[in-house]
């Protein structure tokens, strides 16, 4: 198992971490993102978008309400948020289809169980402004 840890001192540093993830992202990667409310999950996905070459990455917005947003870059980014859909049948979102075209990033990933190959990203608040971002690949 590979484990990388970053410390972020604010949203723009979280973008930078996301950008590193995005630069290494490959078609078929699924990023399951875990973290409490207000820890910067959407900010991380913004960074991932920047890393995979999505031009309007600054306008990657929270999909809590719409559940799923699609962005076109060097790879397609499918940005999912399970916040509102506890007990939701995730199969209805056709995640496999989006993995064929690019990368899928899922916020509130704890609302579903993911397969072994999923890359898990944990964001923990260690103080008001600081976050520990831990990425584990199996």
């Amino acid at each position: 198992m590979e484990r990388i840890e970053y410390i972020s001192k604010g949203p723009s540093e979280t973008w930078d971490v996301g950008e590193r993830i995005g630069k290494e992202a490959r078609r078929g990667d699924l990023y399951a993102i875990y973290g409490e409310l207000g820890t910067g999950k959407t900010q991380l996905v913004k960074g991932i978008a920047r890393g995979i070459g999505i031009k309007d990455w600054l306008y990657v917005t929270s999909p809590s309400f719409t559940i799923m947003n699609i962005y076109e870059g060097d790879l397609t980014l499918c940005h999912i948020d399970l916040y509102r859909i506890e007990g939701y049948d995730v199969e209805g979102l056709n995640i496999e289809e989006y993995l064929e075209e690019g990368v899928v990033a899922v916020e509130w990933a704890e609302r579903n169980t993911w397969w072994n190959g999923a890359i898990k990203v944990y964001i923990d608040a260690i103080s008001e402004g600081e976050r520990r971002i831990t990425i584990t690949r199996t």
Partner: protein, 336 residues
């Protein structure tokens, strides 16, 4: 001219029947229908599957209440986006099938533009005007130059305003819908109890950001604790911060464009304090602010039919292979 308007962009399945762009013959929203009765107590949970099961029932109900038949329709207008793509496609495909079989025009419209134009269901507004569309899924300022011609002046870069309300309410476990509950608490609270940040106020754009405000709230809650004693004061302060940003950005858009007419729509535009701030402070700044009625602030088929009416009148219809889309093109990237 009789137009059927269909919206399945998010949770609700809505179908309305509109005559001549003004007369609403029916406006059915699934959340207002007793679905438990229709489904014998079991309501499907998944949005897109739910739309699939409801759309036919809601459309028939809209026609029944409007005392019309499918054959009476002159056109079918439908939301093509933005929204949850799986849900959008249910309404879009239903509308395509209907238009095709009736041999009538199909108009695939933008849901945000429909919110911006929804005021015309109740009254006329001179062009150009600014439209603030603020809901659980969107926070966006449009400039509407004439029917069917608009541009995006600003949008949220992270959370929508309504989403910030809902998430804070859920965080405090005070119930749903968050906006309404926070508004109720706020009426009893002091707006200046906590000075929450006003994100992106000094950046000279008309864009919004609410995620930092949400984090500031959580930091405050963790640091100071929130109980029944200070709940109303803290929530009133939070609500004031959100509304202050919405107002200041709208005012900035007005100053930048010189357009002083503002319409506000979307679910959050029903908030009483927001209406008060926009009327009072807007009035002092020379803005003429107009609000849709609450029933037309939330997602509804009538505004979709209305926008379809304007497009049809200009001879703009959609091909039967019009595509659904999930999100709005942000400012700077749109070509108008």
């Amino acid at each position: 001219m009789l137009i059927l308007g269909i919206d399945t962009s998010c949770d609700d399945t809505s179908v309305a029947l509109l005559r001549d762009g003004k007369e609403i013959l029916s406006n059915i929203v699934s959340s207002q229908v007793d679905l438990h009765a229709i489904f014998g107590g079991v309501v499907p949970e998944i949005a897109s599957r739910k739309h699939l099961e409801f759309i036919d029932i809601i459309a028939k109900e809209a026609l029944r209440q409007g005392k019309a038949d499918y054959r009476d329709l002159d056109a079918v207008s439908v939301t093509a986006g933005p929204g949850l793509i799986g849900s959008v496609l249910i309404g879009l495909c239903f509308a395509k099938g209907l238009a095709c079989s009736l041999q009538k025009p199909l108009i695939g419209i933008n849901h945000i533009e429909a919110h911006a134009m929804s005021i015309f269901l109740e009254r006329d507004v001179d062009f150009p005007f600014l439209a603030l569309v603020v809901s659980g899924g969107h926070t966006i300022i449009l400039r509407v130059d004439e029917p069917c011609r608009y541009s995006v002046l600003g949008t949220t870069k992270d959370d929508a305003a309504g989403e910030a309300f809902d998430k804070i309410a859920k965080y405090l476990a005070i119930g749903y819908p968050g906006g309404k509950i926070i508004e109720e608490y706020s009426r009893k609270g002091r707006k200046d109890h906590v000075m929450f940040p006003r994100p992106m106020m000094d950046d000279n754009t008309c864009d919004f950001s609410f995620s930092g405000l949400k984090t500031a709230f959580i930091n405050y809650a963790k640091g100071h604790g929130i109980d029944e004693g200070n709940m109303a004061d803290v929530l009133a302060s939070f609500q004031e911060a959100v509304i202050d940003v919405l107002f200041q950005k709208t005012l900035r858009a007005a100053r930048k464009t010189g357009i002083l007419r503002v319409v506000a729509g979307g679910g959050v535009a029903s908030n009483g304090r927001l209406r008060e701030v926009f009327q009072e402070r807007g009035g002092k700044e020379g803005l003429a602010v107009m609000f849709s009625s609450p029933q037309f602030c939330t997602d509804n088929g009538a505004m979709v039919a209305l926008l379809g009416h304007y497009y049809l009148r200009r001879g703009i219809v959609s091909p039967l292979d019009v595509k659904g889309f999930s999100r709005m093109t942000p400012p700077g990237l749109i070509k108008c």
